[in-house]
């Protein structure tokens, strides 16, 4: 085939002077600027672009738009490779590399085609029937099926492209820029309304781009198109977005749009994203989404060279491509006559128009006959021939009822069949918006019924067939939308349109008969992408899959990447035929977003990598990094985990830190603790209601540990709260729970106790907190602090003093999460690093040791202190933790109190916190390990609970663990088992206090 053998020079909008080289399946081709991959392939005479999903039959380009079911392309290479892109939507650029899919080893020779020979074995529900049993074989089947079916390949690495999100508001969003969309946008924009006009194609104009026959307002369609666009652009508040698909229509007129920013460029500028996700809130929406032509369901209607009639016209008029040299037009309505006439005018041969209708009249028929085109009324194509390309058809007369054929078959040679089965209004977005569809019997199509949201449909998506009607509807819809959004003005007058029209009317024969019963010779394809035939739908219906939702899933019709854009109505109608039901009686399936497939990267946009979730770092972070600390995530915080010295493994570093924090002095950055400043005359009373223990009598300058329950009596958070003044408290929360606790307090104050005078302010980031811990901590602090009496009598445990540390104003809390003598020094956040450095310098002689969160966990576990979220999981109450001591028996009420008396809370077999010791002192159990009493050789066995915390304790000299075990406290002393992968560890139940059980050391 010579290069661009099918290009017609005097037609089309492509730039004849700009040749674009590209590669398809390893072969070099040339197209023109303005081509799509599909039009460029057709210009080179290439129809065969894929293989069918089940039978691997050769498939060609069917359509010229986003509805394309066959021409699915693996586009690009490496990590940029993208499967299932539609050749009809890929704009050609220099160096484009595309591969066909679903074929092996090659498109021309495909082994899977054998499926076609055994197709009787691949009926509806084939996968369900064949691979039902045994279940364990599914993995193998699935692998085989995937390989055989394979709709393209997703790249395995990271998406190298950049995506963006954009939020926008507008008064009127117009979806689609055909005659109706342009008219609507013009009418609305002229009022000053903020208008967004979005269209999925590379140029605005929709159907006008491939309609050169009509004149509008005395001008060519192209002149009217460009004048109208210019008039809209002249309106300051209008935004015109070609290459932008409206993909989703959600509640309250919220729509998503995908703008393909650089996909069409050979060398995209670095500053631009590949695609942009628009999130638009529109006061009003005008849906001018057009219509999609329906294939006719006739025998072997899937050969390459069999195309939608409107697509044939589009390739000719927009791209200057003759899709075939000798065309046969097969139709049930007038529109295909336009295709026949265009082909003829462009120098193509039209072998015949085969029209299912018997009575036809009007200008289109007359024009066709005048051009000498043979028109066969009341006839049907009953067979097609040609393996990799259609070669000829067999045509017969229909019986009067249209359910059979009669007379002699006539063979007609052709290399193109333009089929026209009527139009399906593109109601996908309307359906997503929950608008109702209604069946129009004259059009044989679903049209918009009642709106659910603030939208109107205009143009051919309402079933309008004539350009004049589309423009008139568009002007009105745009004007009405602008008025509803609060703007004033008058719509421009509707222009006069001249175009050929026909008699209207169509003959709906949903399954075109042939000489043999359906399914007994050849295939009548309904869904090209999923290889579903009319026979499959009939079989499914006979087997009882009569609900449209069942039918869809059983036959997989409409379930491909095209969501059945060309197949849905045909499938419903054929089901209706079998059930002798009308189509509204059969019902429709729901259309779901997105309208066309979109890249996952688009939805993540910039929120990837370090921007996935904000990372919070303390004011002392710089020091930890310089010291070579390893970090861990705690909520959004990055906390120093441990500080390995050169050559030290994690365990060695943690052991060293844990020892030093008791025997010498340890120092930890505790700035991430949640901190809430609480003020107001009712502050103490409020705390009394949200904590389980008593708060009214807490002295000024004194601290108290508190436990918070949800109303269901489950532990929710804990922390130490300090009374700074009569009506002023400083609350601390867990690092991860800070935001939740603040919300909790606010909820109760705002919604339940609005009369209480109390206010909460998060001060987590206002304070830097350094905790020093160990026998030498008092001595160290004394060196840097001369205005606080640090003696045990003057500054007892659970007290707070204000003063200066290293000259920095400080609040010093004598509290301890390690059970050791310990001070938490709070200074203004900006002083945090200075305080840390001062303590490190002064502590050098004591071999001061920074310790991280891992050592902190070990230290608290040695004491049996819980961590909320580790020992608890929302199902654990205070008594389960052995913390009944902190639950007031005197207070008449607090949040969660009543639920403590619920029967389930009193059951003896509730899971309770216990300690576990292993026989082998060096065996460290895995956290999450299950615990059993009655050991069996293999699961199932009764699981009593699980390990919540487990460490090696250097201070004890053996491993320690805590666990939640059914009736655990009563099991103290018992031997239980932890079955692990490959071994079982036996453990002894002990009280969860492993070190300094009397609590002497906190006194120093």
């Amino acid at each position: 085939m010579s290069p661009q053998s099918h290009r017609v020079t005097e037609r089309g909008r492509t730039d004849k002077t700009r040749l674009i080289p590209f590669k398809f399946d390893g072969r070099d081709y040339v197209g023109q600027a303005g081509d799509t991959l599909a039009s460029a392939l057709l210009a080179n005479g290439v129809h065969l672009v894929g293989r069918g999903f089940k039978y691997h039959r050769p498939r060609g380009i069917l359509s010229a738009g986003s509805e394309e079911p066959n021409a699915l392309i693996q586009l690009g290479q490496g990590q940029r490779s993208e499967p299932n892109t539609r050749a009809t939507q890929i704009e050609l650029f220099e160096g484009l590399v595309a591969e066909s899919q679903n074929r092996w080893p090659s498109l021309a020779f495909d082994i899977g085609e054998a499926n076609n020979l055994v197709s009787r074995l691949l009926p509806s529900g084939f996968y369900y029937k064949t691979f039902m049993w045994p279940a364990s074989w599914w993995e193998k089947y699935e692998h085989m099926i995937r390989r055989a079916a394979g709709l393209g390949k997703a790249p395995v690495g990271r998406d190298p492209d950049r995506y963006e999100k954009h939020h926008a508001h507008c008064d009127v969003l117009v979806v689609g820029s055909g005659p109706a969309g342009l008219a609507a946008a013009l009418a609305a924009a002229r009022t000053g309304a903020r208008v967004i006009l979005a269209d999925e194609q590379s140029e605005l104009g929709g159907g006008l781009l491939s309609n050169s026959e009509a004149t509008i307002a005395g001008k060519s369609t192209e002149a009217w198109r460009s004048d109208t666009i210019a008039a809209i652009e002249a309106c300051e508040a209008a935004t015109l977005l070609p290459r932008t698909t409206v993909t989703g229509y959600y509640d309250h007129n919220y729509l998503t749009m995908v703008e393909r920013v650089t996909d069409h460029l050979a060398n995209p500028p670095a500053h631009l994203p590949r695609q942009r996700l628009w999130k638009v809130r529109a006061k009003r929406v005008v849906l001018a989404t057009g219509a999609i032509e329906r294939p006719l369901v006739f025998r072997d209607n899937d050969r390459p060279g069999i195309m939608l009639s409107s697509a044939v016209r589009t390739y000719l008029q927009r791209y200057g491509v003759l899709s075939g040299r000798r065309a046969l037009v097969f139709t049930n309505n007038d529109d295909a006559y336009r295709t026949a006439l265009s082909l003829k005018e462009a120098g193509g041969v039209v072998a015949a128009i085969v029209d299912l209708r018997i009575e036809v009249s009007g200008a289109l028929l007359d024009a066709a006959r005048a051009k000498g085109i043979e028109v066969l009324l009341g006839h049907a194509v009953v067979a097609t021939k040609g393996h990799k390309h259609v070669r000829s058809v067999s045509v017969m007369a229909l019986t009067g009822a249209g359910d059979g054929v009669q007379g002699l078959a006539r063979e007609i040679e052709c290399d193109l069949i333009a089929m026209a089965g009527g139009w399906n209004p593109t109601v996908h977005l309307l359906s997503q918006s929950r608008g109702k569809l209604s069946w129009n019997e004259d059009l044989g199509a679903f049209v918009p019924g009642q709106s659910f949201q603030a939208e109107t449909s205009a143009g051919s998506c309402t079933g309008a067939l004539e350009t004049a009607d589309c423009i008139r509807q568009g002007l009105k819809a745009g004007m009405d939308a602008a008025r509803a959004a609060g703007f004033k003005g008058r719509a421009p007058a509707a222009p006069k349109v001249e175009e050929h029209s026909g008699s209207g009317g169509m003959r709906l024969i949903w399954t075109v008969p042939s000489t043999r019963p359906v399914g007994r010779g050849g295939k009548h394809f309904v869904d090209f992408q999923n290889d579903v035939t009319a026979a499959d739908i009939r079989l499914a219906a006979r087997e009882g899959y009569q609900s449209v939702e069942h039918l869809k899933r059983y036959t997989t019709t409409g379930m491909g990447t095209d969501q059945g854009k060309t197949s849905n109505v045909n499938a419903l109608a054929i089901l209706g035929d079998v059930l002798s039901s009308d189509i509204p009686g059969v019902g429709t399936t729901t259309f779901r977003a997105p309208f066309t497939p979109s890249a996952i990267g688009l939805y993540a946009a910039r929120n990837v990598g370090e921007f996935f979730d904000p990372e919070r770092r303390t004011m002392i972070d710089e020091w930890h990094r310089e010291a070579g600390a390893k970090f861990e995530h705690v909520g959004q915080w990055m906390r120093a985990w441990y500080y390995p010295k050169p050559g030290e493994a994690q365990r060695q570093a943690v052991d060293r830190e844990v020892k030093a924090a008791r025997d010498g002095v340890g120092i930890m950055d505790a700035s991430t603790l949640g901190k809430i400043d609480i003020q107001g005359p009712d502050a103490a009373e409020f705390l009394n209601r949200v904590y389980t223990n008593a708060w009214l009598k807490l002295g000024i300058g004194r601290c108290r540990y508190g436990l918070m329950l949800h109303e269901d009596a489950m532990v929710f958070d804990d922390g130490v709260t300090t009374r700074l003044a009569e009506n002023h408290f400083h609350m601390t929360t867990t690092t991860g729970g800070a935001a939740g606790v603040l919300d909790w307090l606010e909820e109760w104050r705002q919604t339940e106790w609005p009369e209480m005078k109390v206010h909460f302010t998060s001060v987590t980031e206002q304070w830097a907190v350094v905790s020093i811990c160990g026998r030498k901590s008092r001595e160290l602090l004394a060196e840097l602090c001369d205005d606080i009496d640090l003696s045990g009598e003057a500054f007892p445990f659970m007290a707070m003093r204000e003063g200066t540390v290293s000259g920095l104003p400080a609040r010093v809390f004598r509290i301890s999460f390690t059970g050791e003598l310990s001070y938490e020094i709070n200074v203004a956040a900006r002083h945090g690093l200075a305080l840390w450095r001062a303590l490190m310098a002064a502590g050098e002689k004591h071999a001061i040791t920074p310790y991280g969160t891992e050592a902190m966990h070990v230290l608290r576990a040695e004491k049996g202190f819980i961590i909320v979220g580790q020992e608890t999981d929302g199902t654990v109450g205070p008594d389960d933790l052995g913390m009944d001591w902190i639950v007031s028996k005197k207070k008449p009420d607090f949040i969660g109190r009543r639920s403590l008396a619920r029967p389930d809370m009193l059951k003896p077999d509730r899971k309770q916190l216990v300690g576990l010791l292993t026989d082998d002192p060096n065996e460290v159990l895995p956290e999450g390990g299950q615990i059993v009493a009655d050991l069996k050789p293999a699961p199932p066995m009764e699981m009593l609970g699980h390990i919540t915390s487990s460490y090696y304790s250097p201070n004890c000299g053996h491993s320690i663990a805590m666990a939640l075990i059914k009736g655990g406290r009563a099991r103290t002393g018992e031997k239980l088992f932890v079955p692990l992968d490959g071994k079982t560890v036996s453990v002894r139940v002990v009280e969860p206090k492993f070190f300094d059980p009397e609590g002497e050391r906190a006194n120093g």
């Binding site: 659910f452 919604t751 106790w753 009543r898």
Partner: protein, 118 residues
């Protein structure tokens, strides 16, 4: 994505808000006087109608204030926004409030009069 009118900040995307469940479930002031079943009603039970619903929202990523809304759970139409501590004024909202199975229950009677949720 609903468009919700915060009484203090104006119309904002749903993503800025946190949902707070059914409105007007006041906390009993003397929980000990309630049976386990009556307490469970307060604690666990909420109605789940198709249609008008009285519910709470919080402008979590904004002013952090709580407010009530009357919303149709089928159409998602927000019929009314009203302050904590007040009752709905729209016809549908009043109807939904009066029709609530909770009115007059033991937990409801036990709840403090004048609570923002009653």
């Amino acid at each position: 994505m609903l468009l919700i009118e915060c009484p203090w900040c104006g119309p904002r995307d749903e993503a800025e808000f946190a949902y707070g469940g059914e409105a007007h479930i006041a906390r009993p002031t003397e929980p000990d006087k309630l049976s386990d079943a009556e307490w469970a009603e307060y604690l666990f039970l909420a109605s789940n109608p198709r249609g008008t619903y009285l519910e709470r929202w919080r402008h979590a990523h904004g002013c952090r204030r709580w407010f009530n809304a009357v919303r149709d759970t089928y159409t998602h139409e927000i019929i009314e926004i009203y302050a904590m501590g007040s009752l709905p004024k729209s016809k549908l909202g009043i109807q939904a409030y009066e029709d609530s199975w909770r009115r007059g229950s033991a937990a409801e009677q036990n709840a403090k009069r004048g609570s923002a949720k009653s």
